[in-house]
């Protein structure tokens, strides 16, 4: 029982990270119809920024604020400067641009901070560990039915739920949220009712990047370190979640992310055959199966393709 609970909570914790990445992907896809390949690396870069703020002695709260701002700006600038001008040309060009952005952000992080795992006293890091949002010492856990549930796991899950709730409010109870939904539904008509579509798109990307940043920071906190390859697999898991949930359903993305986290944790733990190395294959298979059976995902709306 204790083991089961342990695995469940761990699964929800990592699932929360996947959910956050998936949320970012879905917000962008709904607004612009593009898949943002650079989603993970935008989060990565901001996570490095938060590390740097920690190096300079800022408490994690402020560091996170700055990280969020940086993330938002990266997303907004990417949309205005790179994606929008190119989207007139072809979807292929947009795809290549996001791939290029993926590479660029990853390289830039390495160029600024180097390619070793950080923090690293060998290169002069002040911090022992990557700054964590939640109490992270070995003794910070609560015992439930014999399982040691870390505060961090609870915190990560709780934070994700709060963010999901806030987004729900944004989309459904605010004027700007209505504008975002309108643009996602019919961009031309959105213009005709006086919505500034360009602004909505830019903010959508910024918002998505900011949410991704939280995911990156949280994940680095769980890992206690940040490195250049941190977000590769998380991006895949997030994409699997977005696919499973349906690329146009934010709620679906969150649920799917949690599901994948739990399934992956359970499968790896209980089905010894799979083991740690092949957990990623689980995500791969999920994406493949969903795309073959119900391409619009569990909660997405099927689109009829006009010839």
């Amino acid at each position: 029982m204790a083991l089961f609970l342990q695995r469940l909570v761990d699964g929800l914790s990592s699932g929360s990270v996947y959910a956050l990445i998936a949320l970012g992907l879905v917000i962008i896809y709904r607004g612009t119809g593009h898949l943002n390949f650079a989603q993970g690396e935008m989060a990565l870069f901001s996570a490095y920024v938060v590390y740097q703020m920690g190096e300079w002695g800022l408490p994690i709260g402020f560091a996170l604020m700055i990280g969020l701002a940086v993330g938002f700006v990266i997303g907004a600038v990417a949309e205005v400067g790179l994606v929008r001008p190119v989207s007139k040309k072809s979807p292929f060009a947009v795809f290549i641009v996001t791939i290029g952005l993926f590479q660029l952000l990853n390289w830039l992080a390495g160029a600024i901070w180097g390619d070793q795992v950080l923090p690293n006293s060998g290169v002069g890091s002040e911090q022992q560990q990557y700054p964590s949002l939640f109490p992270d010492a070995p003794e910070d856990f609560v015992k439930v039915f014999g399982a040691a549930i870390r505060y961090q796991s609870i915190g990560v899950f709780g934070l994700t739920m709060v963010i999901t709730g806030l987004l729900f409010l944004l989309f459904n109870k605010t004027k700007f949220g209505l504008a975002m939904r309108a643009v996602a539904s019919n961009t031309e008509s959105a213009k005709l009712v006086g919505i500034r579509v360009n602004t909505v798109l830019m903010v959508s990307w910024g918002l998505a990047a900011a949410i991704g940043t939280i995911g990156g920071v949280v994940f680095a906190g769980i890992n206690n370190s940040v490195s250049l390859g941190l977000m590769f697999t998380v991006f895949i898991y997030g994409s699997a979640a977005a696919t499973l949930g349906g690329f146009d359903s934010p709620g679906g993305a969150v649920i799917a992310g949690l599901m994948i986290g739990v399934i992956e944790g359970m499968a790896a733990g209980y089905i010894g055959f799979i083991g740690q190395e092949m957990k990623l294959a689980v995500a791969f298979i999920v994406i493949l199966v969903v795309l073959m059976v119900k391409p619009s995902g569990l909660f997405g709306t099927a689109k009829v393709e006009r010839v």
């Binding site: 190119v86 072809s90 791939i99 952005l101 994409s239």
Partner: protein, 401 residues
């Protein structure tokens, strides 16, 4: 548009031009191993394997329009097939090439079946996942007896020692290159092996080029282009979508495995840590292909050459001293070599100014110098897409313009 020279397709002048171009290429290819330094030959070998992989990717990305960032897995399949067969079963390396091709072909066809139902970006995700899973698959303890495993963690050292085989570097193994007892290359021990690897890589590159050219210019090739341009219309015109895509993907995968085998032979060892077997490899193929020019036969060639040149020159630029003075302010601050960053920026910039890559730019401006005028229609097989004739102006339903 004025041209300096105008020549007719198929005329003597045209043939002379083509022969000249071919002669130049052959001359370069001969010069490198005979007169070039060992470093240059090794770089050229890397460029040739990269070219082959990029050309293979081009078949589905440039011509069929299917996105794949998973070709590192096919490359790795080739590398490991060769590594396993030679080190565990003592096969002759020559025989591993066709086996690698076939296995990768089959995998490619299998992957493409779900792929034929999913579009663009979804396919990109699936292939990305494939690229990420592949190194993990190699490290899987369940397969360790076959693949030599690796401890399963990216930053452990032991992987390099345990995956072991040696080709061509030790005396006892030389006999594996014999063809029915005849050793075509003489003594290849030590430094002598370097030009040898170059020729293997060149041979593979030429084979890949010929196969792709054959496919593209054939009827099957035109089906591919039709699928890229408008799937639904192609299906209506009788193109078997699933078979076409599966065929293309299979060939592309199989061809991509060959340079992997070459690399296995060249390195003399293989491990999941080799960068080209990871997602970084896939991205490199993609970058090379797009910069050179997607959808053109020579694009990957130019792109690969450029990539290797730049990467080699800037490889040690993490150390500020190594950078030429003028460029120091631009790159000196960086903790890692700037190569990847340069290419990332180039990739993005290209989408703005030259989406068809360097070859696209060449095709745009070279007609100003020499223009080839096609022969009158009525002769056999144009290579234009099947759909040119179908491209009528239909107004969308309901619009009154």
């Amino acid at each position: 548009m004025k041209s300096l020279f105008t020549i007719k397709d198929g005329s003597a002048a045209h043939w002379a031009l083509r022969l000249l171009a071919a002669a130049i290429v052959v001359a370069i290819m001969l010069w490198i191993p005979t007169k070039g330094s060992n470093g240059l030959v090794t770089s050229a070998t890397e460029a040739l394997t990269l070219m082959s992989a990029a050309m293979a990717l081009n078949l589905i990305l440039g011509y069929t329009g299917q996105i794949s960032i998973g070709h590192s897995a096919f490359y790795g399949t080739g590398a490991y097939v060769t590594a396993i067969l030679v080190s565990k079963y003592e096969w002759s390396p020559w025989l591993t090439f066709p086996v690698a091709f076939v296995i990768a072909f089959v995998v490619g066809v299998l992957v493409s079946f779900p792929a034929s139902r999913i579009k663009g970006v979804y396919l990109a995700l699936v292939t990305l996942a494939l690229a990420l899973v592949f190194p993990n698959l190699l490290r899987w303890p369940k397969l360790e007896s076959l693949t030599g495993g690796g401890p399963g963690l990216p930053n452990s050292d032991s992987a390099l020692d345990t995956t072991g085989f040696d080709i061509g570097r030790r005396e006892g193994q030389m006999r594996n290159f014999e063809i029915f007892g005849w050793d075509p290359f003489g003594d290849l021990r030590g430094q002598g092996a370097i030009p040898f690897y170059y020729w293997i890589a060149a041979g593979i590159a030429i084979i890949v080029y010929i196969v792709i050219r054959g496919v593209v210019k054939s009827r099957a090739g035109r089906s591919l282009i039709a699928v890229r341009d408008n799937e639904t219309a192609a299906a209506v015109m009788g193109v078997n979508l699933v078979a076409t895509k599966a065929f293309a993907f299979g060939i592309s995968a199989g061809l991509c495995a060959l340079p992997g085998s070459v690399t296995a032979i060249r390195l003399g060892s293989m491990s999941p840590d080799v960068a080209t077997l990871t997602i970084l490899g896939s991205l490199t193929f993609l970058i090379v292909m797009v910069i050179g020019g997607a959808g053109s036969l020579w694009g990957p060639v130019i792109g690969a050459a450029l990539y290797v040149i730049v990467t080699d020159r800037t490889g040690n630029w993490a150390d500020e001293e190594a950078i030429p003075g003028l460029l120091r302010p631009f790159f000196g601050w960086s903790k890692i070599p700037p190569g990847t960053g340069i290419f990332a920026v180039t990739l993005i910039a290209l989408m703005f100014v030259a989406p068809r890559g360097l070859v696209g730019v060449w095709k745009q401006y070279s007609p100003r110098i020499v223009r080839v005028v096609p022969r009158p229609a009525g002769l056999a097989a144009a290579t234009k897409p099947v759909l040119a004739a179908v491209d009528t102006n239909t107004t969308p339903e309901g619009e009154s313009e």
